[in-house]
Symmetry: C2
Amino acid sequence: MTLHSHRLTDRDSPIADDGDEVRFCSTCAFSGASTQAGYDKAALRDLHVLVEHVGPYQAGAHVFRRHDPFRAIYAVRGGTVKTVAIDTEGNEQVLGFYIPGEVVGLNAIYPEHYPCDAVALEPTYFCRFSFSAISALATKMPGLQQQLFRLLSKELGMTSRLAGDHAADERVAAFLIDLAERYATQGFPARRLHLAMSRSEIADYLRLAAETVSRMLTRFRDLGLIAIDGRDVEILAPAPLNELARNVLGR
Amino acid sequence: MTLHSHRLTDRDSPIADDGDEVRFCSTCAFSGASTQAGYDKAALRDLHVLVEHVGPYQAGAHVFRRHDPFRAIYAVRGGTVKTVAIDTEGNEQVLGFYIPGEVVGLNAIYPEHYPCDAVALEPTYFCRFSFSAISALATKMPGLQQQLFRLLSKELGMTSRLAGDHAADERVAAFLIDLAERYATQGFPARRLHLAMSRSEIADYLRLAAETVSRMLTRFRDLGLIAIDGRDVEILAPAPLNELARNVLGR
DNA sequence: GCTGCCCCTTGATCTGGATCAATAACACCG
DNA sequence: CGGTGTTATTGATCCAGATCAAGGGGCAGC
């Protein structure tokens, strides 16, 4: 039905048609910005004008690197990205995974340099927005300003929930539930999901060992909560998973 | 020299004089907003008009509670606050400590309800800003908008650094260094700090047990890195502490 | 000055998840 | 196809920090 669910089944045309700008934007992270506070045609055109479509970035390619000067934020159009901070001992710390409709780079506003790397996990396309341009535009478009505030606040909430000390099973359950919900928001089926990231990347995100993630998934499978086929996961029993995830997701 | 350092030595007059609005604002979280993009006198007056001075909140008093509808953000004027999320098992999860010049409540923008409690740790005063009013004003005052973005992004960075998996000694060192630096930013002496929070609150913030925090402080003392007198801490050897804190603080 | 209540420290044990180690299941490619 | 590198699973052991337990110390109220 939507562009995104279409993409899931048609890997040969992985991005939305750029021709129809308005329809394109309805699937994007800033869709709410225009419709919210009354539809300002001119402002909406400004938003479309300042966007640059970039990609594809192949799996493993860097979208930006730590210490690069902050210029732009990236809305994922298709594909998946991770943001990673690598500490002095070389441990990878995954800060987040971003799927279509989500925005990468907001944590660079304050330091004015990206504090982490952004790496594509599969061929990935973005809308790139110059931050100075989009914040200038936000001045004329209260809905856009509001949307930026909301995006930042949302990510803040997500990050602090992840920061809590939770048992491994709760973390893994929360990861699955959260990802499934985010895909659902973008119009993907809510029960089946494809993990673009490795077990070890999930572990680096959840602050667990890859072995622990694997064990938890196996346990969930043995309990009949999920079905696993490599990186394809089907959620069979959302209720008990939600129960596990509850504390992590703050409900 | 500044109002804040004055307060440290004069506990009887714990807040800045409200009479001199401009001087007051020069110590506040939004000081950069006005001076940044050219000084707009009218806009600055708007900012002063929309602020409400609230407090004191006594130690233990709630500033807002989880699930309260989000209306305002609070800039700490004097005192200390913690934000806390309490999970279903009753474990306290401290999300942050806020000292004068810092802003509480930004994580409520997206959910539109406060996702945590805010509790004063000592008698505490705030500037309260209606969020709808301040974001409306931000539209006319690019510097203010920028400041809000920066505050959100800064907190995002802080939270995700805390979320990393770091050893207990690294966490505690980072806590001390970070707090000392934040006090220093506000004009307090950089080497001596008074902890407004208990060991157990520090532990709930760092995701450690209170006993572990205590042991780490003792270890640092035995190593000659700090001097401890109850809740007063003096940093004797910043270099090794910084070294420990490095990975946590992302340097 | 005494009493009760926290908060803090210190010591002794326990445990969840990390780490180490060994296969197993792939995917890619010549 | 089989070979090779990568990713995932499963089992065995270990350890940092949690938990349990027992004082010690400050301070408010009486």
